[in-house]
């Protein structure tokens, strides 16, 4: 079957959307004004390389969204829409995808956008010397790129991949100038060259990256609010690691936009008429506790369910996040349209938890009141990454620790730095863990729950922390990946999720939080519906 999406369809949708962000869109008031430099302050780590092909983390995606563009994007309904590619079609066997590129697009170094550029970018991501990890994984099934004609690139696959478009929409697979990619990695990391509305002017380490407007810009995604060059003269991209000073900088007008906003700050900003809030949860997985089913006591589904029933998540979330985070009952982020949610499986019920533990044989009690079985205490090791869990989340874990203790679980929280945390996971020395995972599309389920995800990568990394090893799940995931029928795919992914949720492998908490605050002077800013990074192409300064 040939599937074809035309830009026409998507542009009509875009016109209706105008400014779309996932929750609170910024109302554009008045006519856009050209000019001015927007100051953006990020709390994420300063990237070590501005090219998101190299490594591939969220801080890189945040800034690269301003100067690099992908073949496709997504709208707020989760539909894939044209960006650098006008249209695409997949072969009947699902093994080759033909992308027709937008005409007349040039990179900011003057190189034209052609199929050769697509080939060069795929080769760049797949080259071990690039040390790509996120992009590399997403292209795992890609065997090569054929240049059919100047504007047609055919991507060939080793096996069908229904998540390919989702993968290609991510900033980590953005298309860069092939001429620029031929430079040394140092040079390309310093100032990658793309087709985006802005370009990298200078990088003053630890201070800021200066971005200037690309006056010849001609390739907005189908859901953009305008065409032509960006309104802003440029962006000063600052690195302000401390949350309190970042907010103070926004209040004092030193900066216009901040990210990584903490719950207490969001609440404080609600009272400030000069500040607007954009809530843009990240795609992929929800933030959840994963229960390691490969070792005792969680190798017993009764104990897994008992733990989930013993944890009073709702009260903890509302008291620690002040209503800024909504409780999730799904393995997937709420922005994922294929997510399945089942509240009934996660109700706080200490009585049921006690019964389950009795049934599982954890009937004894030690001196501290924790349950025991054959002289062993019901203890859970919970390594916590202090880099990845915000303070409110760490407090949440402490509250779960105390509610679980009422049922007789002893939860041992171990705050660790990132390297030690990964080491603990690699040594299978954990019962509980919370690990965020950002990826566009339901294919993230394959990464999180396929048996192959329990096998560590060369670096020791693995993503299936719940250690779900269910042949049925594997089969469903493989089918979902291979099918080209959207309805069938949705059903298969729903079935996977149902099995995972009913197996009590995870305790969903809330979406992976991603909040922006900006001065009301900033109009037309939105979060890109792909990886929820800030899109400033339509933004203008109304001061």
């Amino acid at each position: 079957m040939h599937r074809r999406l035309t830009s026409l369809l998507a542009t009509t949708a875009a016109a209706a959307l105008l400014v779309g962000c996932t929750a609170e869109a910024t109302p554009a008031s008045g006519d856009p004004v050209t000019g001015g430099t927007l100051v953006y302050a990020t709390g994420d780590a300063e990237p070590t390389c501005l090219d998101p092909h190299v490594g591939g983390n969220y801080p890189q995606a945040l800034i690269a969204t301003q100067y690099l563009e992908s073949l496709v994007s997504k709208d707020t309904d989760g539909e894939v829409i044209p960006w650098l590619a006008d249209s695409w079609q997949v072969s009947d066997d699902g093994l080759s995808w033909e992308f027709t590129l937008k005409e007349g697009v040039t990179f900011t170094d003057g190189t034209p956008l052609t199929s050769a550029a697509v080939a060069a970018n795929v080769a760049h991501v797949q080259d071990p010397a690039t040390a790509s990890s996120t992009g590399y994984l997403a292209l795992a099934k890609v065997t090569g790129v054929e240049e059919v004609d100047e504007l047609t690139a055919r991507i060939t696959l080793s096996s069908p991949d229904s998540g390919l478009l989702d993968s290609l929409s991510q900033t980590w697979l953005a298309i860069q100038s092939p001429t620029a990619l031929e430079r040394t990695q140092e040079e390309n990391c310093e100032a990658p060259v793309g087709t985006g509305p802005f370009m990298v002017e200078a990088w003053d380490r630890q201070e800021s990256v200066t971005l200037s407007r690309n006056d010849d810009y001609s390739s907005p995604p189908a859901d953009a609010a305008h065409t032509g060059a960006a309104y802003l003269d440029g962006i000063e991209w600052r690195f302000i690691p401390d949350s309190a000073s970042r907010y103070a900088a926004l209040q004092s007008g030193t900066v216009d936009v901040i990210d990584n906003v903490q719950p207490d700050t969001i609440v404080a900003a609600e009272d400030d008429d000069a500040i607007d809030h954009i809530d843009a949860p990240r795609p992929g997985a929800s933030n959840r506790l994963e229960l390691n089913s490969s070792v005792t006591p969680f190798d017993d589904i009764l104990v897994r369910e008992a733990f989930i029933r013993s944890a009073n998540v709702d009260d903890a979330v509302s008291s620690l996040f002040f209503g800024t985070a909504e409780r999730s009952y799904s393995a997937l982020s709420s922005v994922e349209t294929l997510g399945v949610s089942d509240e009934s499986l996660f109700e706080y019920d200490p009585d049921a938890a006690n019964d389950l533990l009795d049934e599982a044989g954890w009937t004894g009690r030690d001196a501290d009141g924790y349950r025991t079985k054959d002289g062993e205490t019901l203890a859970l090791t919970f390594p916590v990454s202090t880099n990845q869990s915000i303070p409110a989340e760490q407090s949440l874990f402490e509250q779960l620790q105390s509610t679980a203790a009422e049922t007789g679980f002893r939860v041992d929280l171990e705050p660790l730095d990132l390297a030690s945390w990964y080491a603990a996971l690699g040594e299978n020395d954990y019962d509980l863990v919370s690990a965020p995972y950002t990826k566009v599309g339901a294919d993230v389920l394959r990464i999180l729950f396929d048996t192959s995800g329990t096998v560590p990568a060369p670096s020791g990394y693995f993503a299936n922390h719940a250690q779900v090893k269910d042949p049925e799940v594997d089969a469903l995931l493989a089918q979902a990946s291979a099918t080209s029928d959207a309805g069938e795919r949705a059903e298969l992914y729903a079935e996977v999720q149902q099995r995972v949720l009913e197996g009590f492998y995870i305790l969903p908490l809330y979406d992976q939080q991603n909040h922006y605050l900006h001065s009301t002077d900033v109009q037309g800013m939105r979060a890109l519906p792909t990886v929820s990074t800030p899109a400033l192409y339509d933004a203008w300064l109304g001061r």
Partner: protein, 336 residues
């Protein structure tokens, strides 16, 4: 230690034996000894950091290809290991590292993909500006407190003593956030983060200077009071010096001596304070580089910064000792 200003403290403090004939070269020998000691300290610092940072779990090659938990391929990791010599046995790596160190080569930062010396060179200016300005402000505050307490009577003494203790006890991060809340968020007078020009320097400098002024003030006040009650002050008065002459020309000089002696320590305190202050106020500098290098397990950058700080620390303490000898004639007397 230069704090011992009471005349009784000196006669006994003569290591090396009294009465042994001395040459005119003790200054040179003293300098050579200091230099040898400095080299030893730098070597020790280099060795300890080299091995300590390897105790952190995880593979340093991961730090090169995108940080801990990177999903890098085998090839990428192997390439990174070969590039940075991490495929060699640890003793070999250590010797290579010492060899490079001798040539003044601090290696290449994993994360920044740049020479460590370049990274330090780019960032040292910000930290030095901060440190020098803070030291100056702290000295002025400490001096003001000392003078006021010496001349303002009993009440002033009690108040300054309390102020100094409070100032010395305040942690940098608390002070920084409080100053931001007061002067940026509430009053809107000063920018909360670094901006071009001197205005952005105000809050970070005050944050670093206040606790330091507490320490300096305590020491200066003590020695000022001791000096004022010393026989030489009486002698000066006997010669007909007036109150202010005695105070400014004689006693105050003595108050400066312990402060100079503390400069080496103050430098260390300023660098550790810079880690916090540069991060909170988003200022580029060595402290912030060090923090992100530790978090990112950037071994060459961590060792490079620690060694550089150790070297500068050795230079500062040597210079202060030298300054002590110049300012305080008694130390030179002793050497004869």
């Amino acid at each position: 230690m230069a704090g011992s200003l009471t005349p009784t403290a000196h006669p006994t403090a003569r290591p090396g034996g009294a009465g042994r004939p001395r040459t005119r070269l003790p200054a040179l020998r003293w300098l050579l000894l200091r230099l040898g000691g400095a080299v030893f300290v730098v070597w020790a610092v280099a060795t300890v950091t080299f091995f300590a940072i390897r105790l952190i779990p995880g593979d340093p090659a991961e730090a090169i290809v995108g940080g801990p938990g990177s999903q890098a391929s085998d090839e990428a990791l192997a390439e990174a290991r070969a590039d940075y010599g991490l495929d060699q046995p640890l003793p070999v790596q250590y010797l290579q590292y010492l060899g490079r160190l001798l040539r003044g080569d601090l290696g290449r930062s994993y994360a920044l993909r740049d020479d460590v010396t370049t990274v330090i060179g780019e960032n040292v200016g910000g930290t030095l500006t901060l440190a020098v300005a803070s030291l100056a402000l702290a000295s002025v505050i400490a001096l003001a407190l000392a003078v006021w307490s010496a001349r303002g009577g009993r009440a002033a003494g009690a108040v300054t003593s309390l102020l100094e203790i409070v100032a010395a006890a305040v942690p940098h991060f608390w002070l920084a956030i409080s100053l931001i809340l007061l002067f940026s968020s509430t009053l809107g007078w000063l920018p909360p983060v670094s901006v071009p020009g001197p205005l952005g320097l105000v809050l970070p400098v005050v944050t670093l200077a206040l606790p330091l002024s507490g320490f300096l003030g305590q020491v200066m006040r003590e020695s000022l009071l001791t000096a004022l009650s010393s026989p030489f002050v009486l002698a000066a008065r006997a010669r007909g010096e007036g109150d202010s002459g005695v105070f400014w020309r004689h006693a105050l000089r003595h108050a400066a001596i312990p402060a100079i002696g503390l400069a080496g320590w103050a430098f260390g305190a300023l660098i550790s304070g810079a880690v916090v202050v540069e991060t909170i106020f988003a200022r580029p500098g060595i402290g912030r580089s060090l923090l992100s290098a530790v978090q990112g397990r950037d071994v060459p950058l961590v060792t490079g910064i620690v060694i550089s700080v150790a070297i500068v620390y050795m230079i500062v303490t040597t210079l202060t000792d030298l300054a002590d000898r110049l300012v305080d004639p008694r130390l030179r007397e002793e050497a004869r």
